[in-house]
Symmetry: C2
Amino acid sequence: MVSKIMKTCTHFIDAEIVDGFWKPILDANRVAGLRTIYEQMETTGRINALRILWKPDGEAPKPHRFWDSDIAKWIEAAAYAVGQKYDAELDQQIQHLIHLLEEQQQPDGYLNSYYLAVEPEKRFTNVQWSHELYCAGHLMEAAIAYFKATGNRSLLQIACRYADLIDSIFGSEPYKLKGYGGHEEIELALIKLYETTGNDRYLKLSSYFIEQRGRKPYYFEEEAAARGTSATAIQKLEYFQAHEPVREQNDVVGHAVRAMYLYCAMADLARVQGDESLRDACEKLWNILVSQYLYVTGGIGSSSKNEGFTRPYDLPNNEAFCETCASVGLVFFASRMLRLSCDSRYADVLERALYNSVAASMSLDGQRFFYANPLETKEYYNLDGVSEQQYYTRSSWFDCACCPSNLSRLYTSLGSYIYTAEEDGIAAHLFIDSSVHFAYDGAQLALRQETRYPWDGKVVFTLRTDRPVEFTLRIRVPDWCSEYEISGKETCVREKGYLLIQRVWQDSDTVSFVMKMPIKRVYADPLVLEDVGCVTLQRGPVVYCVESADYDVPLSTVVLSSHAVLREKQEVAGLPADVVAVIGTAFTACTKHPDALYSSDKPSYMPVPFTAIPYYVWGNRSDGVMRVFLPETDKCQP
Amino acid sequence: MVSKIMKTCTHFIDAEIVDGFWKPILDANRVAGLRTIYEQMETTGRINALRILWKPDGEAPKPHRFWDSDIAKWIEAAAYAVGQKYDAELDQQIQHLIHLLEEQQQPDGYLNSYYLAVEPEKRFTNVQWSHELYCAGHLMEAAIAYFKATGNRSLLQIACRYADLIDSIFGSEPYKLKGYGGHEEIELALIKLYETTGNDRYLKLSSYFIEQRGRKPYYFEEEAAARGTSATAIQKLEYFQAHEPVREQNDVVGHAVRAMYLYCAMADLARVQGDESLRDACEKLWNILVSQYLYVTGGIGSSSKNEGFTRPYDLPNNEAFCETCASVGLVFFASRMLRLSCDSRYADVLERALYNSVAASMSLDGQRFFYANPLETKEYYNLDGVSEQQYYTRSSWFDCACCPSNLSRLYTSLGSYIYTAEEDGIAAHLFIDSSVHFAYDGAQLALRQETRYPWDGKVVFTLRTDRPVEFTLRIRVPDWCSEYEISGKETCVREKGYLLIQRVWQDSDTVSFVMKMPIKRVYADPLVLEDVGCVTLQRGPVVYCVESADYDVPLSTVVLSSHAVLREKQEVAGLPADVVAVIGTAFTACTKHPDALYSSDKPSYMPVPFTAIPYYVWGNRSDGVMRVFLPETDKCQP
């Protein structure tokens, strides 16, 4: 019997991004981003580490436990790029890395540059912290991407050999280890590997890792005891989402990237196995995540202490960690939920993360990255180090460099997040100037989407078909959109946030969908302590911030009147010409006693020109500070 | 020639605290506090460490480099207590510790339980981090206190022997080390030792340490290089206030307690040597400190990263570190500035720290302490540990236990901060129900101060004298006080914030000083980002907060209307009966979309009963959260 889920679940179709908002960003990633990351991997010894040459007394830098994942994510990113548009140099770099991996792989399939070089006798004795299974998962994703892009099976074979070894070591059989990785990733990768190879051992192993997680006795405690350490004593099991079986988890906890990758795997497993109770568990976690733990920018994981979740509604702006990888992981999780059900709630969050937290994490030139994406920055000292850094800025690299390549693989595959093939047609989740080819009911179709979104709310779909064909085009109505117009005379049903245009389509048919895109004031739930009395601005999916580059007064003093008339402005100096800023008049709060820190006299409010820019472009003009939320006053004049 | 400073500088006179606000707090400290700390020092091995029994493979806990300072500060605190009211048990405990110190002291005078036991060959090779000079300084302060309290010279002799050794090692002579301690303390202690013994070697050594600090080549860098480490590479010299010569320092930087102890020593040295340029340096640092780095509670040092200062106006509420020792140090610094000049600006800050940040740091029962004193707390996980702590609460002890004994020595000597003897009479800086004896112009005088301050603004001074005598009584008009009445018909000059009552005093003369004490709204300079649009309350010197114990709604949602009528209330359940709370009506912000974290609909405001309690009593009724600043709205009805 085919379950209800399996009947309704869908898959994404690759579209080509032709123009618009993302084009320069993706070009920067493809040209500067991929090159920068490769060079950094060379410079920092990550590529050389694949040669297993490290010796305790040698000159080579000691590899880190997660270096292999940087390599793998870069290969994955580059493979998508090669698949879209062949690039011999890029392909050669990929093949060079594959060659090194091939040389490194042990006869039994084992492959990990840290353990082979540094602790060869300690394989799989510390899966809580070793990142072995995490690195293996990324290797699988890279292999699948390269195989799909080129048909070349070399890396896929390496990945399968390693997966077979892991399958021989972990599992429910009495002679196998009852463990699972401390950083989830292999679970979702194994499902991809199953879907790519058809080998259901991989599905079974993924299911084992997912279902075994959090069961008693706790594997991480037993594993630590076997090593003679009490590793779990210094980190709660919640950090790893390993405190309870996954279906029984009733809160979003721990390290944010770990959580996202687990939830992705749970959603995939629910889909592939038609497991409704697991789908319900995903839905429960999704709802908690987006209603209690999500920043307005799509950032998640508020604390730098655990790079993760703390308490419901604990969403400070300044200390916001919001790791780039966590927002990328949120896009992955949202896309998986979309495959389970074409519901705009998922695409709304996916879009929120994409246009804000994710887009902010790379500089416009593609060469520098944020690891953390706070909603407010201050001048500060780098108190722990020698060098004094006055402002929070993007960096070209990190010791723990998970973010740049994670972002890169999302960007080189961004065309695959626009549409899903639905049972009765096709659904448009994102508004990106693009072109997609698909088949339906024997017809060969091409759907061109033309738009300047998110700067303009007009989207025109044009269909090419080799024959008239009846199907449904679903167009998402975003959560921020309260007014829109759609062309044509068809009855337009709205279902789970999508407009359903069901008709017999002719070649060259067009649909014009126009969303009104006013500047909106956005307020957080007052359970978010830091945002009470404060407001932020949003236009379309784009969240705004103020940046010191636009102000002569200290940003701390800027207050927005609830009566302020705000309007759009393009061609802001130093920003891409099409970027829409928001301008008007705000107040600057001024003390009446400049010599006293505290006073019984309320500060006075003086008018100042107000400029807000999209959050994602902050930090691209000059170093300075930034704020997403501002205090809002009911005063209308000083 | 006697310099201008030396002519005007004054000294504090010990008063006996008779009744009022501080009585139960000081009793709790004297009874529970001193005992708790002594027991903790026993339990944790600090006292046993004085026996130098630690062996690498033994059972005794390894002493820490600053353990000796805990012992010394407890002796100092207990000595003041014994001096006020003899207590044989306490004196016996002190003498027991002195005996252990005597046994431990080396023939050359060296005395440090950590170095003697753990690294005997490494004496004075790491004064940047070793706390040897810091511990020595506290030993001197303890010795002086015990000598003054009892006339017993045993500890004083130990301290002098150690001081002599240090003097033989550090100094400008070519054969001496050109160093100074990484944690200031010995500088101020040596000046006290000079003032107690009259031996000017101690003054000269203190002056050397102060003047040498921050000169190039940097001693800490040379010392680290000599050890073969690059210790300074991981901590900026600003942390130690060792980046520039002290007179050239133009900002308040680094570890807050370190900074306060240095500034104390600078002020003392300026006073003793009549050094006006050094006094000017103190004045410069004082002004920067109180106008850019001071919390409304008298807390200082906003960051936990360096336990210290960051940037001007960087005064976040939730992350506020505000170490107890730093506020205690601020009281010390303010009292030294008061000795240089009878100016109410210093006493105002001293009082602010005392009634708020300092008073908050001990529980009402004297048994638990805050190390950090934030202005806002949240529910939180203890993310780094096994145990999950939901609320920030006081603890009975700390691994680094500097705060309890520091607080304790301030409390047992609190009577000495009320009055200074001035050239032309006496100045009353604090309003504390007390009695002081002093001599002036051959007359023996007693001044009784009766008051319920800070709950009531009325203070009655009654003078007893054995003969009529002409002198000036200075009474401070606090910065918060804009309306007051003073009895009597004399011309009442106001000078540097003090009312000068100059007359021929007769026995039984009284002066009644009545300060109006309304509830005031207090606003921070808008350069303090976190406080813009927010307000706090103050009545007299007491700063208020809201605490979850008084609320049915989440504290994050509480907003105060600028129109709210606020009134006083005593006898709040769970608090001492005389504590004045502030009550009225506030609003709770309510989202119109409980299922959505973000919305374009502004939250609505519903009335809720408002209760604010003095900051210093928070966390004494039940565990929960607290806020000092609240958003303020101009709305007057929902």
